[in-house]
């Protein structure tokens, strides 16, 4: 199901950027069509080879026994946490950095929220020998320090963004400004299926390796397609990657799990939405180069979003995902901070996998509709694939602190190691 024409997904998408960037975007459109869509000069072959050798693909599709028992159905995890760097982000970063190299660009810039995309870009740049600068909000720098160290160790510059709340939204704006200044020799590796065309389509194509593998693996393991596929959704790159090859399979339900944060209500006066649920609660607007669903006040000012997970903490969402939700192909749901933390601990304790806080949202939804406290009769079916988009090592500091503050019931007692944190 190709939903795209001319960079538009229904009413969404487009190219809302300063004129100075338009020639670079046209150049990128041309490169995307030639190298990615038509495999000119064997670009896609090289990309796939590097994903295998450098990235460690294919990742496994694992049946998780305790969760299957708990939810009384077959539950499989697509283990994107096993990709080099610890998240699905490398699929896109490697693709774009390689593309920049084919285009003759000398310098790479990127924004990052949780630091996973920045880390993946820094690794890809070291691997392919290109200069790399990453913009990261100061608030995110504080809550995702291990990734800041990893970027620096890979040789990237990390530029703190201090305006606003200092999260992903401000980091994207600042990276766009850098690009507008250095557009002639620089490629902007955007980290999600957001931004002006061709980014949403191109990032989806690089990420669709997730669903390509998962679709084949589940047919091999279970002899059929899944009843549903679950993925967390911030900007939506792991979501689109996990859904892309299933969108034509009309019997497979696709569920995008957003961050419900602490509440779905908005505070218009303060311009704050204490969640990142732009699919569930946002309205149509223009943000960072595209028309999509955004968290905004009635005037059109973009709200400050919130999620315990830095990688989901964004006021917009990819235009194609917004379109698929409007079209009824994808169902948008949300899971709040506390339930995500609880799901984080459950997977860590029962399956020996520490998930990223982002991915924990998808697991939290399974618990909400199929767990022991759920009402009877959910619609996820007997065979469920959850995209485990990343591993949680980067989140440990946040988890320990937040778990303590919120009194998450299933968390282990860490006081003896942290000195109480009071």
């Amino acid at each position: 199901m190709s939903t795209e024409t001319d960079g538009k997904f229904g009413e969404y998408g487009g190219q809302y950027v300063p004129e100075a960037l338009m020639p670079a975007i046209e150049e990128l459109e041309d490169a995307y069509e030639r190298y990615v869509l038509e495999n000119e000069d064997g670009f896609m072959d090289e990309f796939r080879r590097r994903l295998r050798e450098f990235g460690g693909r294919p990742t496994s599709l694992q049946r998780v026994d305790r969760l299957s028992e708990r939810y009384d159905r077959e539950v499989y995890l697509k283990r994107e946490d096993l990709v080099h760097g610890g998240a699905h982000k490398l699929n896109n970063a490697l693709g774009q950095v390689l593309l920049a190299k084919y285009m003759g660009k000398e310098r790479i810039i990127a924004e990052t929220g949780a630091g996973q995309h920045g880390t993946a870009t820094a690794m890809a740049c070291a691997h392919l020998d290109l200069d790399c600068e990453v913009y990261m909000g100061h608030h995110d720098i504080n809550r995702q320090r291990p990734n800041v160290f990893r970027m620096r160790i890979n040789g990237a510059e990390v530029n703190p963004v201090t305006v606003g709340r200092g999260t992903l939204k401000e980091a994207i704006s600042e990276t766009l400004r850098d690009w507008a200044t250095n557009v002639e020799d620089t490629h902007y590796v955007i980290g999600s299926v957001v931004g002006p065309h061709p980014f949403p389509a191109m990032v989806r194509d690089f990420q669709s390796v997730i669903s390509e593998e998962a679709r084949e693996q589940i047919r091999e393991r279970a002899g059929r397609l899944p009843d549903s596929v679950l993925a967390c959704a911030g900007g939506g790159s792991n979501t689109m990657g996990a859904f892309a090859e299933f969108t034509d399979d009309r019997d497979v339900s696709l569920v995008a799990v957003e961050a419900g944060g602490s509440s779905l209500d908005v505070d218009e006066d303060r311009g704050v939405a204490p969640n990142s649920a732009s699919l569930s609660t946002g309205t149509e607007g223009v943000l960072h180069g595209a028309r999509t669903r955004v968290l905004q006040d009635t005037d059109g000012q973009i709200m400050e979003s919130h999620s315990v997970s830095a990688g989901l903490d964004y006021a917009g969402v990819g235009p194609e995902l917004a379109h698929l939700v409007d079209a009824g192909r994808v169902t948008a749901v949300n899971v709040d901070d506390d339930d995500a933390l609880e799901a984080f601990h459950r997977l860590s304790q029962t399956e020996g996998i520490i998930p990223a806080l982002e991915s924990a949202h998808a697991l939290g939804y399974l618990e909400a509709v199929a767990g022991p406290d759920a009402d009877e009769g959910d619609e996820l079916g007997d065979l469920v694939v959850v995209n485990l988009s990343g591993r949680g090592d980067k989140d440990l500091e946040t988890v320990i602190e937040e778990t303590h503050e919120r009194g998450i019931a299933n968390a282990p007692d860490m006081d003896v190691f942290t000195g109480g944190l009071q």
Binding site: V17, E19, M22, T298
Partner: protein, 287 residues
């Protein structure tokens, strides 16, 4: 002949090169901001670009970002902006500079769905003559262009140093009022020199019959002189003026004092454009 919807705007460029200052409306508060705009007009402004602050100003450098933050903090909204414009006591054309989402959302509660028409209608009501929307390239501008034509307002487009060939053609088909010649790559902000990219851009635009106003980085009367002597029909100055506003905020100076400094800075810039016109005139007579 390119389009010109607003007669006031056409006239402002008809009597020699125009000095076009930019301020963010409501920076640091509505009352001071009103005094500042009026001071710039006393200092010789021919057109004033008024920024309606948006939370994600992706084309702006640090100076204007801070001004936008101050204006938002003081409670500026699109509706207050229109009231602010209606209250201004000035006799030069006013151009609204903002980002597309604010244009797109205005009046949505009334109409049920977003679109630029209510914003343009309201702007026309309060006497705005045109718009600059830096995140709206010609490709996406159709609905706003139509609304501007319906209400007799102009839509100014930015031409960047990277804009060439077909892109330039496409923009020049849509532009009206004046073309905003971006003097250099990057974001807005005062600089200490004049970029060579400006001369090259002016050269590319020479054959088009529409006023060319140069902006991005102009901060002194000498810059203005050089740019007008190079063939520009106007100079747009924002950050260098906002620096004066920001200093006033920092030192807690009385509004009247800051206004007097702005008026003086405006006189310097206006005098520069006049000197540039003399040089440019002398040169055209020779050729």
């Amino acid at each position: 002949m390119t389009r010109a919807n607003s007669r006031a705007l056409a006239e402002a460029f008809a009597d020699g090169p125009a000095f076009v200052p930019y301020l963010v409306a409501g920076d640091p508060d509505c009352e001071s901001s009103k005094a500042y705009v009026e001071a710039l007009v006393r200092g010789g402004a021919d057109v004033v670009e008024l920024g309606l602050p948006f939370s994600e100003p992706i084309a702006e450098g640090p100076t204007i970002q801070s001004a936008i933050a101050r204006a938002l903090e003081s409670g500026m909204t699109p509706e207050r902006f229109f009231e602010f414009v209606a209250d201004l006591d000035v006799d030069v054309p006013l151009v609204c500079m903002t980002y597309y989402n604010l244009v797109y959302q205005y009046g949505r509660e009334e109409t049920g769905e977003p679109g630029p028409e209510p914003f343009v209608r309201r702007a026309a009501e309060v006497g705005i003559e045109g718009f600059v929307v830096p995140d709206l390239p010609a490709e996406e501008a159709g609905p706003l262009r139509d609304a501007c034509d319906e209400y007799g307002l102009d839509l100014v487009f930015v031409v960047a140093p990277t804009t060439r060939g077909e892109r330039l053609e496409r923009i020049m088909e849509q532009v009206s009022g004046y073309v905003y010649v971006q003097a250099r790559l990057g974001t807005t902000g005062a600089r200490s020199d004049v970029s060579r990219a400006t001369d090259e851009s002016l050269d590319r635009l020479r054959e088009y019959d529409v006023p060319k106003a140069v902006g991005f980085g102009i901060s002194t009367g000498d810059h203005a002189e050089r740019i007008v002597a190079g063939g520009a029909d106007g100079v747009i100055v924002g950050s260098a003026l906002i620096d004066v506003v920001a200093d006033g905020v920092e030192n807690d100076d009385p509004t009247a004092e800051v206004a007097a400094r702005l008026e003086e800075k405006a006189r310097e810039l206006k005098a520069g454009t006049r000197r540039g016109a003399t040089a440019s005139g002398a040169r055209s007579e020779r050729t």
